[in-house]
Structure formats: structure tokens, C-alpha cells
């Protein structure tokens, strides 16, 4: 799961726990203890989804909710106390996409966040091979959290290999899939594989099978 999530929650324990869980789930996360900076955050962080506690000190939760609806097209998931049935209904009617009742299991929260994102078409499809993450829709690649700067060709090459992980891909096949060539063109593939390998950093990921082609494989152990 890859998306940007803004968490507004005053209870520090919950805020950090949720933040960590979302990050581990693959999200970019920004956490806030109140909604004072909400407008700026929406503009700068451009979240795909806002996780909002409705019982906040300072500005009222429902005002914030309306702000989010107005200033962005992010999804909204509310955090509500168990006995606030009224709030629940009202919140949903006013335009939240889902809600979670405290206390909650972290996994359930993550699941709901993911469900909302999926429903909104805001979930990006990510291929993962070991610590390598390829976001096909965003055309971005990262290793161990750090983004890699790949050229268009390198990205196509990597994506194609990732789509056939654990399978040997011949050079002719690559040439056809990535470049659209039918015939053999010098050592084009080798040069780009070389560049790609350098950027990937780890030699344990992209193997060359002499006489056969290349192979992208998650390193064992």
C-alpha cells in the first residue's frame, strides 16, 4: 500500500502508533496533534487520505472535516469514541468515507484505510522484490525506503524484469519488450543493465545468467 496519509489525533500514544503502523504498511505519513495547521498541511502534503479524530482540543472535528472536503479531495476516515454514536452517524452523513471506533486493532484500522483508498482509486500498485519497491503508477522506485533516480529506459527495463521475477529473460525478449526492436542491436541491453545495476546498489538482485539472459530475484536470507 502506497499513499500519503495525514493523521490528526491528540493522544500521543495513538498518534505515534498509528503513524508507525501506516509507515510499515508502506505509506508516507504526516502526524499532527491538532488541526491548527490543517489548511497548510493539505496544500503542502497533499494527502490521499486524512485520518481524523473528531474529539480534538481547539477546532472542532466537524469543522476540520468540512475543511478537508472543501480544500482537497482526500479520503476521510474518522476516529471516534465508542459511546459517540451520534457523532458517528453525523460524521458519515457529512461526508466521511469510513470510521473506526476506539479502541481499535491497528490491523483493522490499516485495513479500512486501505479499503477507502482502494475505493477511491488512490492506491498505487507497487511491485516489491526484497527491499526494492517499484511504484508502477507513480513511475518511482525506491530501495530500503530511499528513492532511486532511474531514467525512463531503466524503469521500463526494471519493471519488465520485476513482472517476471524469478524467471530468466533473454536479451532478445528484453529488446522486444523494452525497445520494440526485432533484431539484435549491439550491446544495448548490457549497457542499460549495467547502469541499472549501479543504481540499484546491490548485486544480489539482478543476476546475469550467462548464455541465457537476466534474472531479477529476491535475495535469499
Amino acid at each position: 500500500m502506497v499513499a500519503r496519509v495525514l493523521v490528526v489525533e491528540d493522544a500521543e500514544a495513538i498518534r505515534t502508533a498509528v503513524g508507525i503502523a501506516l509507515e510499515e504498511a508502506g505509506c508516507e505519513v504526516l502526524t499532527r496533534a491538532d488541526g491548527e495547521l490543517l489548511e497548510r498541511d493539505l496544500a503542502a502534503f497533499r494527502p490521499d487520505l486524512v485520518l481524523l479524530d473528531v474529539m480534538l482540543p481547539g477546532r472542532d472535528g466537524f469543522v476540520l472535516l468540512e475543511l478537508v472536503r472543501e480544500l482537497s479531495n482526500a479520503g476521510i476516515v474518522l476516529l471516534t469514541a465508542r459511546d459517540a454514536v451520534e457523532d458517528r452517524l453525523h460524521g458519515l452523513r457529512t461526508g466521511a468515507d469510513d470510521y473506526v471506533v476506539k479502541p481499535f486493532v491497528l490491523a483493522e484500522l490499516i485495513a479500512r484505510v486501505e479499503a477507502v483508498l482502494r475505493r477511491m482509486g488512490r492506491l498505487r500498485t507497487v511491485l516489491e522484490i526484497g527491499d526494492l519497491a517499484i511504484d508502477v503508477e507513480a513511475s518511482s522506485v525506491s530501495r530500503a525506503g530511499r528513492p532511486l533516480e532511474l531514467t525512463a529506459t531503466e524503469l521500463k527495463l526494471l519493471t519488465f524484469l520485476a513482472g517476471r521475477r524469478d524467471k530468466v529473460v533473454g536479451k532478445a525478449q528484453l529488446l522486444a519488450a523494452v525497445w520494440g526492436y526485432d533484431d539484435y542491436a549491439a550491446n544495448l541491453v548490457e549497457v542499460h543493465v549495467s547502469a541499472l545495476r549501479r543504481k540499484l546498489g546491490s548485486p544480489a538482485l539482478l543476476h546475469t545468467i550467462r548464455g541465457a539472459g537476466y534474472l531479477l530475484r529476491e535475495p535469499t536470507e
Copy 2:
């Protein structure tokens, strides 16, 4: 269908039935009655897919699901009881790749497992002779789990022999199939058979039939 599947299910009847069915379908299977050793199993067995009962004694299904998602990129298929609480299931379902409701027909389970594996591109084609596994698509060979480093020629040789297991293959035939030669070329075959044997480790696999050729056979002890 060839893949590694971890089955976590407390009911012994179901566990063994599913295990046998998966093995018959061609999978490597590891079965567990609970999730106590999950971390270790994920690391050591490296399953392509985890078949998980959500109603387990001991550790909670949520926790196990999260663990699998975190520690591996295996697919997940859930086994659920028909009367389980609905939104609890919903949460689980969003994190899993598929689910099967008990009671189920074995064939359906197998079909779903295969579908998930195919969707993930984790299905492989493998020839097996004894403890020897030849993954044609990955151009890789392993014995008793340990990978062997074969050259292209050795792999071709082995693959050809494996394709006619239990049959004597003449040198001229090998020369034609592996090298494309028509005439006889010194002791080419012998040299490569020798190298191959050394890498295979066991002499019980690749036999010499004096005056006739070679024979690949699963050791019967």
C-alpha cells in the same frame, strides 16, 4: 503447479487433507497447527503463499496476517468459518489476496491458491528427480534445497536427461540434442557429464551405461 505453500490450520483433519492435496498438485508444503513459529517459518521456508486459518488458538489471526505481510511478500489465502463476525472478516479480507469459507471443497481451495499464485507471477515449472529440482524458467537447479551453480551446457545436458528419466541416452543423441553436432567430437560429452556429476554431488543419480550411454534415475533405496 509448483510453489512453496505454508499451511497454518489447527484442525488436524483439514490440515493434513489440504497438505496432501497441495502436494499432489505439485507444491512444496509446510504445515503448522498454530502460528507460534511463523517468523522462523517465513524466513526459512520462504513460502510463495500462506494458507491461514483466522480462528487459531494462541496468536490472533490479525497479528499473523500482519506478520506475513510485514516479513514476506507471500500471497495470503484465508480459511474462514461461515459464522464469523462480519466486519472482523472484512478487515481481514482487505489484507488477504483471497479467502475460502469452511466447509470447502478441496478442488476449490486448490483452484484459488493457484489463481492467487498465478496473479502474483509466482508459479513455476519445475522438474523433480528425487531431491533434485530443475526450474526451467529460472534456469536454476537445486538439490535438497541447496542451489547448484551449473553452466549453460550442463543445464541443457541435465534438462535433456531429466526429460527422459529412466531411459538410456546415447552419446550421439546427447551430442545432437545439446550441442547440435552431427558427428562425433572427441570426449566432449564425457567431460561435461563428469563436471555435472561433480556438481550434483551424488553418484546415485547419473549412471553410466557402458557401451550405451547415460541414465538419469531417481535413487530407489
